[in-house]
Symmetry: C2
DNA sequence: CTGAAAGCGCTTACAG
DNA sequence: CTGAAAGCGCTTACAG
C-alpha cells in the first residue's frame, strides 16, 4: 500500500541498504547518490515505517506520558502546550498509555512502555506514597517527574521553586504591614505542599515573626477545603489578617468563606493564591497569586528528557523553575 | 533485555508459533497447552512487542489525534477525559502526532499516520476552509471529526445538537417574555456557528418573531469579541432585551460590556452562554448556558472510531449529541 | 493439535 | 562507496 524503502530503492536504482544509509545520515555515501535518493524520498513522500525501525533497535521517537489525573487535569493543559513545542523541535511523538491503571496489579506500566518501545517517560500527578517507582527506576527507562523529587538511576525531576515563591509572597504581605499571616495548606502528602510550607516558615522567620500552629489550616487544593480551612482561621479569636493559599481554587474558596462571614477582601483580610489559573483574574477581587510557569516546565521537561535519552551517561537532572508574584486586587494593607 | 516470545516459548516448552496462537486467541490450541502458556505469559509478565506486531500487519492498537489547537485547548480537556475511558475499554493507546504542522507542505499527516501504523484518527478544531481533507479521505484511514460535518469514505463525525440547543434557548427566553433577542455569533466559518445560527432563526420563526439582521453581532467565541459585539447591540436605538451567545467566554465579555454601559444582567438584559465551562458558574451573575456533553462526545468518538476500524464495511457514522440548558442567574423576565 | 519457515520493513555489520 | 544477507519480534499459511 504505502511506499516502502524497497520502492524508493527501486525507483532510485540503488539498493535498500543505500537508501537506509542516506536516511540515517551515513557519511560514507556518495554525494550524487545521496541527492538522487533524497529526490525520490521526497517525491514519493517516503516516510520509514516506525515499527520496523524500532524493531531493529533504532529509536522509536516516542515519549510516553503517565498521569494520575488523566490527560484532563486542568493544570496539565498548560504543561502540555509547553511540551508540544519541545516535542516537535526534538522530533518526538507523544503517546498516552491509556491502558494503564494503577489498581491493576497484573499490569505493569514498565512492561507497557517496553512493549511500545517508548524512549522516555514523563510522570505527573504522583506523590511518593502513591506507589513505588522501583520497577520504573530499575527498568532504566529515562524518566522525568514533574513536581516530585525523584532523582535516582535515570530518573530526574522538574518543579517550580515552591519554597522561594511562598517566601516572597510572605515578604509582600509583610511589606503591607501584615504580621498575622495564615497558611492554607495543600495536600499534606504532596511534594509541593511541603516546600510551600517550608517557604512559609522561612518567610515568617526572616521577618522575625513567631510561627503559630493554629494559623495553618489543612487543605487539599480544592475550593471546598479552601472554604472550610478559611472558616477555621476565621473562628480564631486572634484571627490572621492575611492568608497565603496553596492553590487558586482554595484561595477562591477562602474568599467565599470570608465573604460569607460578612468580611471583605482585601479590606479585612488579604489573600494570595497559587498557580494563576485563568479564573484568578476573573474573580472579584481579582486574585493576587503566584504564577507558575507551567508552559516552561512542560517544554523543559521534554528537553531534559531528550538529553537523558540521548546521553546514557548523563546524571539525572533536577530543575527548579522560578515563579512570579502576580499582584492584583486581593491584598491590601493590614488593618491597624 | 525484556522477555520476548521466544523466552516464554522456551520456558513453556512449546514453539513460538504456539505461544503466538494462544496470545491471539486461536481456538485450535489444546486446552492444557494453552493454560501452560498463559501461566508463563503471566509469570514472566510477557507483553508482545507492539512494533513487531504492527509490522506483520496485526493491529497496532493506537489511535492518532489531530488538532489545530494543540492538546491544550481548554475545551479539549473534557473531550479527552471521555476519550480516555473508551480508549481503555477498547484497548487503544493514544498517540499525539506532534511532528505535524499544517504550514509545512513537505510534510504529510497521512504519511505520518501510516508510518506510525495508526489505526484511526480523531480530528478536532478544524473548519472546512482550513484545509483540504482529501489526502486523509483518500488514504482510507478511519477518521472521526469532532464538530465538523465530514462524511465521506471512511470518515464520519460527531457534534452537539447545536441547532436544537439554540432553538431551545430562544424558547426559554420567549417564555420570559423576551421578543427582542440578539445573537452573538461565533466564528462565521465554523460549522457549529452555522448550526447555532440556524437554531436562532428557527426559534425566532417558531415564535413568529421577525428576524432582524442588526440583532446579530459578529464574533469569534472570544471574550474580547463578545465585549465588542455586545457594544454594537447596545448602541442600537431599539436594543435587544436579551442575547444568546455562541460561547461562555463571549457571554462573559458581553456581560462586561453591559455592566460597563451602566446596565445590569439580568434586570436590563438577559444573557445565555454556550458550553458551560467551569467559569460559567463562577461569574456573577452565574451564567445560564447551554451545556455541551463534551465528555460523552469524547467517549463516543472513540467508540464510533473503533467500530469503523473493526468493520471495514461500516458506513461512516454521524452522531448528534443532545445538549442541556443549565438555568442559572443571568436571565430574567423581559422589561415591559 | 503443533511447529518450521517465510515474511513484515527496516538497519547494520561485513565483504567487495 | 555500494549491496547481499542476517536479524529485530512477531504472525500466519502450510505441512504433518
Amino acid at each position: 500500500m504505502a511506499t516502502n524503502i524497497r520502492d524508493v530503492a527501486k525507483a532510485a536504482g540503488v539498493s535498500v541498504a543505500t537508501v537506509s544509509k542516506v536516511l540515517n545520515g551515513y557519511t560514507t555515501v556518495n554525494q550524487k547518490t545521496k541527492e538522487k535518493v533524497l529526490r525520490f524520498v521526497k517525491e514519493m513522500q517516503f516516510q520509514p515505517n516506525s515499527a520496523a525501525r524500532s524493531l531493529v533497535g533504532r529509536r522509536s521517537m516516542t515519549i510516553g506520558i503517565f498521569l494520575t489525573t488523566g490527560l484532563s487535569h486542568p493544570f496539565f493543559t498548560e504543561i502540555l502546550s509547553g511540551m508540544e513545542e519541545a516535542l516537535k523541535e526534538n522530533g518526538y511523538d507523544l503517546i498516552y498509555l491509556a491502558q494503564f491503571s494503577w489498581d491493576n496489579k497484573e499490569y505493569s506500566f514498565v512492561r507497557h512502555c517496553q512493549s511500545r518501545n517508548v524512549e522516555g517517560v514523563v510522570v505527573f500527578g504522583f506523590q511518593h506514597e502513591d506507589m513505588s517507582f522501583e520497577e520504573l527506576i530499575e527498568s532504566n527507562i529515562p524518566t522525568l517527574f514533574i513536581d516530585l523529587d525523584v532523582k535516582e538511576g535515570r530518573a530526574g525531576y522538574i518543579s517550580s521553586d515552591n519554597e522561594e515563591a511562598v517566601e516572597r509572597a510572605i515578604g509582600y504581605l509583610i511589606g503591607l504591614n501584615h504580621r498575622k499571616i495564615g497558611f492554607l495548606s495543600g495536600d499534606k502528602a504532596s511534594y509541593v505542599t511541603r516546600h510551600r510550607f517550608d517557604g512559609y516558615r522561612k518567610g515568617l522567620a526572616e521577618a522575625g515573626i513567631t510561627y503559630r500552629e493554629d494559623y495553618v489550616a489543612p487543605g487539599d487544593f480544592s475550593r471546598e477545603m479552601g472554604y472550610q480551612g478559611m472558616q477555621k482561621l476565621l473562628a480564631l479569636s486572634d484571627r490572621p489578617t492575611s492568608v497565603v493559599c496553596c492553590s487558586d481554587m482554595s484561595a477562591i474558596g477562602a474568599m467565599e468563606a470570608i465573604r460569607d462571614a460578612g468580611l471583605s477582601v482585601p479590606e479585612d483580610i488579604s489573600v494570595i493564591g497559587f498557580d494563576d489559573i485563568e479564573m484568578a483574574s476573573f474573580v472579584r477581587p481579582a486574585l493576587t497569586t503566584v504564577r507558575q510557569n507551567m508552559k516552561h516546565i512542560g517544554r523543559k521537561s521534554i528537553e531534559l528528557l531528550d538529553r537523558l535519552i540521548v546521553d546514557k551517561e548523563l546524571a539525572p537532572p533536577e530543575a527548579i523553575v522560578p515563579t512570579e508574584l502576580v499582584v492584583r486586587d486581593s491584598c491590601g494593607p493590614a488593618k491597624a
